[in-house]
Amino acid sequence: MIESFAVHTLNGLWYGVILFMIASGLTIIFGVLGILNLAHGELYALGAFVVFSVVGYATGFVASPDDPVSAVIFGVVVLVAALIAATILLPVGAFIEAVFVRPIYDRDEVYQLLLTYALLLIFIDVMKFGWGTSPLDAGTYRGLNQIPTTEIVGFGYPSYNIIAMVVGVAVFAWLVWFFDRSKTGRIIRATAINRDMATAIGVSTDRTFTLVFAMGAFFAGFGGAMVSIGPQTAFLEMGLDPLVLSFVVIVVGGLGSLKGAFVGALLVGVISRWAIWLWPAVELAAPFAVMLLILLLKPEGLFGTWGEIE
């Protein structure tokens, strides 16, 4: 009982951290650009596909088929591969912003939603072109089917999941520092609050927007990379469920608030994993029930500031 409680809570925290990475990308893009990027889930999927290709090459160097890799080497490979995958997504995000999103900043929301929806459709085919329609799974890569475990309160837990959690918390800390303390972060926040004023004091809004979109894509890809190496597989529509769930996360936490996104993500992650354990039938509905409850009690979300990054 205690043991399964611990396992499901840990799984929930792990999933929450992954959700946070997607939700953080959505939050900063929405907070600064005012665009709700429906294609975000596909950037997440793209991260997953890229990381499999990268890991597939990397494990060829560090492990032989009969000899499972050690936990440390495995962790390093995973992290480096995830970083490479996410870095590949930086220019992808910049390209999307500069070419497609830029013409529609002043248009109605419905056009913004439709444009990102169009990008989502195009992305699915791009990935189909690159990796085919059949799902990739970790077992097809050498060494990855024997994931090392760590002893926690008397049972083995995949060390990879622990690495992911630590990394996720580090990402959160870095983001908070970035928007609170760093010069670039402050410029971005200033641009979010008043575009014209930022332009007047010499900030290049074009560059800021491109940077923010690229950052969003980076974290989406990082999340996708982290989630796919674990027990999961990568498939074309994998971005949709986390995308919808990260909307829940954002609404629960308060649109535009990073801290809200973090707390909301952990909450949604843990609740959905507890639901799998205690009452599997409501697993998919549970996060939405939480969202409804919070909206009814506190419509602006837990840490809400309508549409400004904080």
Binding site: P91, A98, L115, V244, V248, L284, F288, L292
Partner: protein, 383 residues
């Protein structure tokens, strides 16, 4: 002109007053277009085969278009973007399937009625929760509700998971008006019943959006605060219009189930379907009444035709959508007046064609400049 004549003088032109629509008048061009539309609509089962199109696909297109007409009540007037209207389409379809599969109701008209009731109730419940929200919150919430309904159906044995339910009692097609029909007869009777109901519903929609209630919705769309100050009960009216728009979707979904005779979650309830319904309204022109219908027919045809013929069937739709958003935001029906006006001017003065060539050339030059600027920004940053 006598009082009972449908013809009327307005701005020196003779226009046709359409009965039962309170103030809808058509110019001669529009009348011709409307008559062509009616002829095509009623002749579709026979015309489609002649030009090599699939009648079933066109029929389904009309149904999805009908759902888009319902969605458009929100989109055009209250300016709310709903990303969850597949819930009502699928809700109607599943109401039919459940009534037929579990309760063994075999009368098609009863099934359709239950679809409308269930879908409308669903819309009323969801509308109650979302009516207070605006902008992105509204879109996200409707999307979330849609997702949770899809997940529930997808995961439940009652709805037979992903395989869906058949709309046949004892292996037979449903009866229509108490009579059993042959397969072709069933399709034809269902089609003509639907067409007649659809035209009635379109006329009702016209009446609705030109009533004080419709004007109030317009006011809500323009400025909620002001609408509240002049005494419009904003949340309640949004709730009503949400419910009505759900009714249209539920009707369409119910007929869809009767036409396909099998209901699965993915083509009816998925969040993608919501996106498609929204796209239909924009593609056909959401500033017009029948635009969404046209958009529905076109998109469903495109989707179904590409899905079975091409390996890459998402991207073409995405590219068309992208082009519509960037270059033709008024959609097909919305751009028609501009198109005809332009055509008339060019017939009157063929010299304008030279201007056209020049403007196309400058458009190409501008987009090239923008592309190079973009590349420069990507490579070197700005300034």
């Amino acid at each position: 002109m006598s009082r009972f004549s449908p013809l009327e003088e307005r701005d020196g032109k003779t226009v046709v007053r359409v009965p039962f629509t309170r103030g809808l008048t058509l110019t001669s061009g529009q009348t011709a277009l409307a008559l062509v539309g009616l002829v095509v609509l009623f002749g579709l089962p026979f015309l489609a085969g002649l030009v090599g199109l699939s009648w079933g696909r066109l029929f389904r297109g009309l149904l999805f278009g009908m759902a888009a007409v319902g969605l458009n009540l929100l989109l055009r007037h209250t300016e709310l973007v709903s990303f969850g209207h597949a819930a009502f389409f699928g809700g109607g379809a599943y109401a039919v399937a459940v009534m037929a599969a579990h309760l063994e109701v075999s009368e098609g008209i009863l099934l359709l009625l239950s679809a409308v009731i269930v879908g409308t109730l669903l819309a009323a419940v969801i509308g109650y929760f979302v009516a207070g929200y605006v902008d992105i919150y509204f879109a996200l919430l409707t999307l979330a509700f849609n997702a949770v309904i899809f997940a529930t159906v997808f995961r439940s044995a009652f709805f037979n998971y992903n395989d869906g339910l058949a709309v046949r009692v004892g292996g037979d097609n449903p009866t229509l008006f108490g009579l059993a029909w042959t397969d072709l007869g069933y399709d034809l009777v269902l089609y003509y019943t639907t067409i007649v109901l659809m035209i009635v519903m379109l006329v009702l929609m016209w009446r609705l959006i030109n009533s004080p209630f419709g004007r109030a919705l317009d006011a809500i769309g323009q400025d909620r605060t002001r609408a509240r100050f002049i005494g419009i009960p904003v949340e309640r009216y949004v709730w009503y219009s949400f419910t009505i728009s759900g009714l249209y979707g539920a009707f369409a979904g119910g007929v869809y189930a009767l036409q396909r005779l099998h209901v699965q979650p993915e083509p009816t309830l998925y969040v993608f379907v919501s996106g498609e319904i929204l796209f239909m309204a924009i593609l056909g022109g959401f500033t017009t009444l029948v635009g969404p219908l046209i958009g529905g027919v076109l998109l469903v045809y495109l989707l179904e035709a590409t899905r079975f013929s091409f390996y890459y069937y998402h991207a073409p739709i995405g590219i068309i959508l992208l082009a519509i958003v960037l270059f033709m935001p008024k959609g097909i029906m919305g751009s028609l007046p501009d198109f005809f006006a332009g055509l008339r001017r060019r017939v009157a003065d063929p010299g304008r064609l030279g201007d056209d060539v020049r403007s196309i050339r400058s458009m190409v030059r501008q987009s090239l400049t923008r592309a190079t600027t973009t590349v420069r920004i990507l490579v070197f940053g700005v300034k």
